[in-house]
């Protein structure tokens, strides 16, 4: 028996690994309670590592930009140059604080102007491998973030929460190939589903070829589906293609938010507008 295991140990290891991954895949599809605990644990550890690496990398990058170019300085100028470096560092820091302050002011203005409650979160990691486009936020279930909540910026929609651990959450960006947002063309009120593409664009699917859609039209969230509140900006139409056959037209949309330079985002806790319940109440009455 032992000799059998020793003889076929590599095949057995391959079998175990493949079966484990297949079990994970099917469990992911079923989303059982045990599976949730496992993914929470794994995500908590790996997200912390990603966050740590991200901050460490930023530190190295800052060090490189501020200090490495001073290596060749002559000795007699060292003191003066060090002072310049210190001042420069302070100036950079102040400049960074001022920029951050401006960003926070804009975010606060946005937060006050919208009727839903939101959680502010900082982007601590990202993953843009070929197949998926995601972000890691430093706010998790303890901050009130839950799976399925919409993530936004003052400029428009960012994506939605895919999974949550106590301290971190994973955001599926709207350009992710699995993302789908019910959208509406602002000018003509034509409705469709805005899906992520493999490129950095989105496309509107199931948009009737009879609707008039033009390049430059604004696309908003339609509010259907309950994840994204109505009226959030998704992006702008950049290309429209009507083939000679088929029921639908192909419309490409460029996201309104620059998804490569995100630092702070909002997670919408309650996407329902305060007045949304009024018609239902009046009907009930």
């Amino acid at each position: 028996m032992l000799s059998f295991f020793l003889r076929f140990r590599q095949s057995i290891l391959l079998f175990i690994l493949l079966v484990t991954s297949l079990i994970l895949m099917t469990s992911h599809a079923n989303q059982g309670a045990g599976f949730q605990t496992l993914t929470f644990g794994l995500f908590e550890v790996t997200a912390a590592m990603e966050s740590w690496f991200s901050s460490g990398f930023k530190g190295i990058e800052n060090y490189y930009h501020r200090h490495i170019h001073l290596v060749g300085v002559e000795k007699e100028n060292r003191l003066i140059r060090e002072q310049v470096t210190v001042l420069q560092e302070q100036l950079n820091r102040l400049h960074e604080i001022a920029l951050e302050n401006n960003r926070f002011k804009e975010l606060l203005k946005f937060q006050e102007s919208v009727p839903y409650s939101m959680i502010t979160a900082r982007v601590v990691g990202k993953s843009d491998n070929s197949w998926s486009r995601t972000l890691i936020l430093n706010a998790g279930s303890r901050a009130g973030v839950a799976k399925g909540m919409a993530v936004t910026r003052p400029e428009g929609v960012v994506g939605k929460i895919l999974s949550v651990s106590p301290h971190y959450s994973l955001v599926q960006l709207l350009i992710d190939s699995n993302s789908a947002i019910p959208g509406i063309v602002q000018r003509t009120r034509a409705q469709g589903i805005v899906e992520g593409k493999i490129t950095n664009l989105c496309q509107i699917k199931y948009l009737d070829r009879l609707y008039d859609v033009r390049v430059g039209d604004m696309v908003l969230s339609s509010g259907l589906g309950g994840v994204y509140p109505k009226g959030l900006v998704i992006g702008t139409v950049v290309a429209v293609q009507k083939k000679s056959y088929g029921l639908f037209q192909e419309v490409q949309v460029a996201p309104a938010v620059d998804l490569s330079r995100l630092e702070e985002v909002f997670v919408i806790k309650n996407s329902r507008l305060p007045d949304d319940d009024q018609p239902f109440k009046s009907i009930q009455e």
């Binding site: 290891l13 690994l17 493949l18 991954s21 895949m25 992911h28 993914t39 690496f53 491998n129 493999i198």
Partner: protein, 167 residues
Amino acid sequence: MKFLLILFLLTLSVPFQTHILSLLPFPFPFDLVLIVTYYFGYFHGKNKGMTVGAYLGILTDVLSGEHLGVQMFLKALVGYFSAVFGMGILSKNVVIHFVLLLFFSLMNGLLNHFLIYLFVGEIPFKDALLGMILPSAAWNALFGSLMVFFLQKRALKKQSDFSSEKI
């Protein structure tokens, strides 16, 4: 101690890919995890190739929010088959590495597309093939073969230094 260091470095390769490689001005980020798995499989055998592949694969799955287990499955297969090829045609030739990496990248991309189709939903095959699978495979093969070639050269130099010291 060496094991922990290697584990730490392997673990770092996943955030390294997302943070540093994405800064480089390439049209497609190459799949460092695939290249590392290939290297371990080709030069260190089936056990290490499969284990490293599965470990890095599941880290990628968790961090990217992909369907859990997909990358683990694919990278374990890449680790196993690169070891099979490594035993069969152990070569120092960079062209061999290029061809093998191209093959494994294509296999990885096509199976990935199939598994996403099974578990998540349809992505247009033509878009995926022309927009991602083929260009990524080309980049992986180009950069991966060069990386593997230099790593191999360095290992051989170390080995020869060690043996000349012994003599």
